[in-house]
Each structure stands twice: as C-alpha cells, then as structure tokens.
Amino acid sequence: MILFGIIIVLILGFSIVNAISKKFSILEKIGLSFLLGIGFETFFMFILDVLTIKFNLFILIAISISLIILLNIKNINKFGLQIQKLKAIKTKAKKINYKSINFIWLFFFLIICILLYGSAAKSLYWPTFAYDNVAGYDLMGKVMASEGSINNSLFEIDNAPILGSARRCIYPPLVSGSFAFAYLCNLSTSKLISSLFFIFFILSFYASLRIVTNRINSIIATFLMIITPEMFAFSSLSTTNIPTAIYGSLAIIYLYLWLNKREKRYLIISSILMAFNVWTRSDAVVFNITGFAVLFMDAIIKKQWKALFIYSIISFPLFFAWNLFIKYNIIIDQNVFIDKLFWDADKCSKILVWVKNLITNTSLYGIAFYALFIIIIINIKYLIKDKSSLLLILFFVSWILYTLVFYQMDNSKMDPLNNMMRASYRRGLFVFIPIIWFYIPSSKVINSLFEKYENFLFSGRDKS
C-alpha cells in the first residue's frame, strides 16, 4: 500500500511541477515531485478537516488522482505524440565513449549514494524514539491517521493540547500530516517519510545547482552540503527541522533564481515552497517575510508589482489559515513574543555570543560558515555587480530576521534563552546550510574556476 501511496504522491507532485512549466529539467521535476506532492496531501487533509470530513487513504488518493487527471488532461490528449517523441529519443541515443566519462562526477556521486544509504538505513532501522517526535509530531501523525482528523482526541480535554506535548501538536501539519500519510498506508513507523524528504531534497538541490553551474561544481557542493554533521545526523530523525530546512532553503534558492533569470516558473515554485515552508513551522515565516521584503524592493525599483502580488497570494495564506485554525479550535496562548520593541543589551550580547559559538563550531556545521566568509572575501571585487550577491542579500536578511525572532521571544512563556539557542536556534540554522552551499559554487570566482576546469577537461568532447 505504501508503494502505491508514494507513487501517487510523486505523480501528483510531478504533475504540479509540469503544470507550472514544462521547462523544468527532469531532475528538478523528480526532486520536487515528492516535496510538493506530500505538501499537497497534507493540505487536502487540512481542507477536509475544516469541512469536518474525516480523511482516510481512499479519500486522499481519490482527490490526488482527480487532480492528476485535471493537471494532465492536455498531456493525455497528446499521449501518442509523447510516445513518438520517446521513441525518437531512443533512436537518437548516442554511443557512450567510456574514456570521456566524467569520473570526478561519478566519484562524488558514489560517495553521495553511500551517505544517503547510511542515512536511510539508520532511519529505517530505528523506530521513532526521539522525545520531540514521540511526544509531538509523530504522535500527532499517528492520531491524525487513526481518527482522520487534525482537531482530534489529543485536544479533547478543554480543547488544549495533550499534557506533556508542549506546543508540538499545534505545529503546522505538513510534518505530522506526512507521518499520518505513512500510517494511513499501514506502515508501523513513519521513518520512511523522513528518508524520502532527505533524498528528494538532495535531488532538488543538485538540480537547482545545475541551473547556475556545471556538473562537477554542483556535485561537489551537494556533497559538501550533505556532510554537514549536525544536519546529516538529523536527516534520519523525524523532527520538523529538516523539512523546514528543505522547504525554506529551496524557496530562497528559487526566489534567487527568479530574481536572476526572471522566469515566472521560478517565482511560482518559490512561492509554493514558501507556502509549505510555513506549513512545517510557523517561525519559518521569517523566510517568507525576507522574500516579501526583497520582492517589495524589487517592485519599487522596477515599478512592477505583479511578482510581489503572485508571491504574496501563494506564500502567505497557509500561515494565516493555520494560525486561525489554531485560534478558533485550540485553547493555547499563541503569542510567545514580547509584543513591543525593546532594547536588552544583555540578551542581545548573549544571543550574539551564541551565534558566534555555533557558527564556528565545525562539529555542528562543518566548514560551511568558514567557507562562506572566505568565498565572500574572495569575491569581494564582484560583490556589487555579480548576480549571486542577490542570494547573499536573501541569506543575510533572513538570518538577521531569524535571529531577531529569538531576541523578541518571551522566555517566560518559552524555555530559557540558553536552551532555546542550544536547541531551537542551532537546528534552525539548518535552513542556511543549503543556501551557503548554493552560494559558494554559484559565486563568480568559484563558478568561473570550475567552468574553466570542465572546459579544459572536456574541450571538444561530450560531457558524459
């Protein structure tokens, strides 16, 4: 049953990407298919819950298949034509010259496969055991699947979240909903979903890098991103941090691609990923706000507001929808922030010390932050003119906003500041890791270097 469920999710996601634009590469389509497909499944669960209809696998699959048919209605008519095209590709297939194979690419590809295998093996071997998941997201997923409802028996006592779950059960439903999908497919644990998130993210990340740079550069950057120790360790756990990092970072990357290339498909994908970003955690809204701020500035400069409008109507509604849903259904103090501006030098300096200690800790993030600052210095000459600097703007604005969230947080309602920085902030930094490893290979100097190297290596040859 799970295989059927996952195939439907993949076809749904693939159809959505294809409907946005056929110009996306096949790798982008495959990578994004799971991320968008599973996001939409959780969105269907939410809509059904609002309509007080209990969801089950049959209903979800029926909705998905209907949507797949709708999205592919034009393609179905052209099915014969597609088959002919495929046949043409087959006859055109070139003979592989084994001496001109890109062994460097192959080498890193093999290491990445070993790493992904290691992560997936660990993830699938151990059942869900981490406290946050057992007393939060996975519990919610399990009960959602069993009762076919988001507002379920975990909130039955005075409409408050079950004792001991803190705020974990009121996190937006993308993560718990995706776990619910696994349980609806009769799996005994939901860990498969965590592995699928990570694998399809790696595909998407590599595919997005290929838009701006060559194969060798892309695969090495992908490899360096995967081996970020703390992030890799979390890739086999069922927390919300990795999905947030996936949707948040890809949304920022695609927004950068839109700013750079002005192709509408990138804007739409970015907006959808932003929408799903806040569908994983509400505090991730800082990335949506960053996107809004940058697009707002762009709209003022270019005097064109359409992009900002498209972005806003796609990326924000889920944030408001979920918060309203919680407000009207669950009794919990939603405001965990100090709702006035204030200056606390002590808190500010504590946060900055934490930030410095965390980003310089190579046991957590490897060489990511060091590499970023070195590459910025190397590229300093091109910072103003080079388009990759736009990504730096998105990176630093969202980082500052994200840090400000922790400054503005009311620690009397939440854990003490040190605990928040040690756990939440530390894991929240995952979002920035893929952005760093996207910026480095796409920066002027590194990109030119690798272009020269690959040209030298394959001048006049086919790149296999």
């Binding site: 460097i104 890193f108 070993i114 290691g118 006592i157 090495i220 290596l457």
Partner: protein
C-alpha cells in the same frame, strides 16, 4: 588517398591522446579530491564523527543486530519505560481508560527508580505514554479536575507497589509493576 588515410590516422591518434589525457586529468582530480576529503576527515571532528559513527558505526550495528524486533529496538532506546508501557498494552483492551501513576509513585523518595529520570520522556509524560498506548485513554492525577475520563477509569497502572489501594478489591500477591482492572474481574486474581 594515402594522404587522407595518414590524416585520419593522425586525427585518431590525437583523439586517443586527448582521451588518455582526459582520463589522466580525471584520475588526478579524484586523487586531489580524496586527499581533500582525508584532510577534512582527519582535521574536523564533525566529519570524522559523521563517517565513523553515523555511517560506519551504524551500518555495522545494523548488520550485527539485524534481527532485533521493533519492541527490542524500543527497549534499547527508551529503556524500562517502554517495557512497562508495552506490558500495559499487552494486558489491556484498546478501549481501556487507565489511571497512570503519579510522579511521586514513579520516583519514590530515597529510592532508585527503574524509570527514566534524565529527561522529560517516559511514562510520567502523558503525551509520551499515549504514543505507545493509543487508542487507550490515559488519566493522570494532576488533571483529575479537568479530565472527564477520571471518573470512568477502569484500569490502574501500578508501579513500585503504589496503586493497589485504588482497586475495589484486595490482592494477595502484590507485584512491583502491574496493571489491574479497578473492579474485580469475574475470574480469580
């Protein structure tokens, strides 16, 4: 004709030479990459941990203990707390309403408890215990005034010999850990 053949042969040789040099460059870059990877592995603790522990260590462990059941895996990760909830699960029907032990009963003063004391997980946490016992309803003393199921409790979770006094019948042989119905079952205890 002869000239053409010579030119063709020269082109072939040139192409072979280029392909050999491409192959050589490829291998050279791989060697450089391996050196860089080794430097990263040796020089940065995080990368060493990732490879030694998260990849090699875990794969070895999985290979060594490939036949563990899901219950055994939970016991390794969650300790005695899991063993106890699994025991409750096996002894109660799915519609059971269970009165769980209080914190004082789980951790009796001056005595070492078998339950997890290190963090917030374990049977003391309602959400944690519900994860394993769902769809059974759990009731904790601390929510006695707000939980509508408190009055309908039909099972008592007994830990450290606490809880026998909540039963509507007496038990001759008391065990340290137990789960018993509030009212005497028809069969003999």
């Amino acid at each position: 004709m002869k000239k053409k053949t010579t030119k063709k042969r020269m082109n072939n040789e040139k192409s072979n030479f280029h392909q050999s040099s491409l192959f050589f460059n490829n291998i050279l870059f791989i060697i450089v990459s391996i050196i860089v990877i080794i430097v990263l592995y040796k020089g940065i603790g995080g990368y060493k941990w990732l490879w030694d522990s998260l990849i090699v260590g875990n794969l070895n462990m999985i290979k060594q203990y490939r036949n563990l059941t899901i219950d055994q895996k939970y016991e390794i990760k969650c300790g005695f707390d899991y063993k106890y909830v699994n025991y409750i699960k096996s002894k109660t029907p799915e519609d059971a309403i269970i009165l769980m032990p209080s914190r004082e009963e789980i951790y009796p003063e001056g005595k070492k408890s078998d339950f997890n004391e290190k963090d917030a997980s374990g049977i003391k946490n309602k959400a944690w215990a519900t994860y394993f016992l769902y769809p059974r309803k759990l009731v904790y003393e601390e929510e006695k005034d707000i939980n509508q199921y408190y009055e309908c409790v039909n099972y008592i979770a007994i830990v450290n010999y606490f809880g026998y006094d909540r039963l509507n019948y007496s038990i001759r042989k008391k065990e340290k850990y137990h789960i018993l119905p509030v009212n005497a079952p028809n069969d003999k205890q």
